[in-house]
Symmetry: C2
Amino acid sequence: MKNVRVVRSGSIKSYQISPDGEEVVSGFFLPGEVIGLDALATETHPSFAVALEDSQTCDIPLPDFLKMLRDSPKLNEVMIRLLSEEMVETRELLLVVGRLDAQTRVALFLLSLSRRLARRRQNPDQFKLSMDRRDIANYLGITIETVSRTLSKFQRNDIIEVHGKQIRILNRQALESIAMPGLNASTQTGGESSQSTG
Amino acid sequence: MKNVRVVRSGSIKSYQISPDGEEVVSGFFLPGEVIGLDALATETHPSFAVALEDSQTCDIPLPDFLKMLRDSPKLNEVMIRLLSEEMVETRELLLVVGRLDAQTRVALFLLSLSRRLARRRQNPDQFKLSMDRRDIANYLGITIETVSRTLSKFQRNDIIEVHGKQIRILNRQALESIAMPGLNASTQTGGESSQSTG
DNA sequence: CGGTTTTTTGAATCGAATCAATAGGCGTGG
DNA sequence: CCACGCCTATTGATTCGATTCAAAAAACCG
């Protein structure tokens, strides 16, 4: 699969196969987002991609893309910028993922989805998860059970509403304060919320 | 610090300041490695860098560097490749850091250092850590105590020898098998109480 | 519907963090 | 050179969060 792929509609899961044969989810892509930029290094995708729902994508074969790169200095600049941005984002995720507790990861995940939906003018406060719990857990590096428990807890605290894959954000502020690594503890989250102060 | 920086000698720690004011170590750089590629996106470094020992670096001011990029399609290509490679590497680290236990992280860390030393023709089996336990812990997303315990354990199992910052790798195979996420468990690493020469 | 898979919830266990105390290095000054 | 104090590292005991194992409940599909 040596393509650069632009997502047009639907959603895509990308994953790798770890040395021990396990699937490892490395990202979810929404419309407008680009998959396979890291293919530029190796000229082969280190990862696979599957659609999570009916999706349309626009594939550009890697050789063609490289040729375009050579022909267009402008595209070159854009690509460097895109890569560099993705780099910053991934680096941040890296800082975050290894050291955060489960509920922070889940909060960040929900907010990330929300933000990306907002960017394409969809309701950021109510949306349907296109991936199942297993994929979320895998992506966040926690277990299915912990994802489930955490969502339940958020719901109990009136931060979100969960109906299967349907999510509604009720208290964005609370969610954001949970997502903040160690920053301000209590918003108006009452109940059992108890995000640790340090 | 709007520079792209090439490390010539010594070693450099790069870090960010998290929202709650904590230092977060984001990488260690050895000679020949390049710091600040992600500066290309924002035109400002998201991170700081300090020398861990006497070091020489070669700084290229970002504007100059960007001009060079504009003037040289060749450099452009090289940069895209470099960024893309760094991307792959960081992505892998990401997969790994969020889901691995402490001793796997430490093993990977030691092997990473070793590999990078080998690349520049230094002894990959005996070297001095230029950073302290605090930095290692911070980088790996675990605590000082856990780093210490893990190194001690490796030593007890005759996998490495530790004298403060001086490290000697005694059983690379064992270290590698620990570093493998969930792959073949026992080389001769066995449990804590495996046989040993004394 | 029945059967399957996904999700939620509960109880027990395990690993790492935390709290606390000791040991080792290292530079300064007696 | 040794004594002292400071800082880093190690080790031990306890606590806490997440995993694991197990089972029930809900959603999904032919």
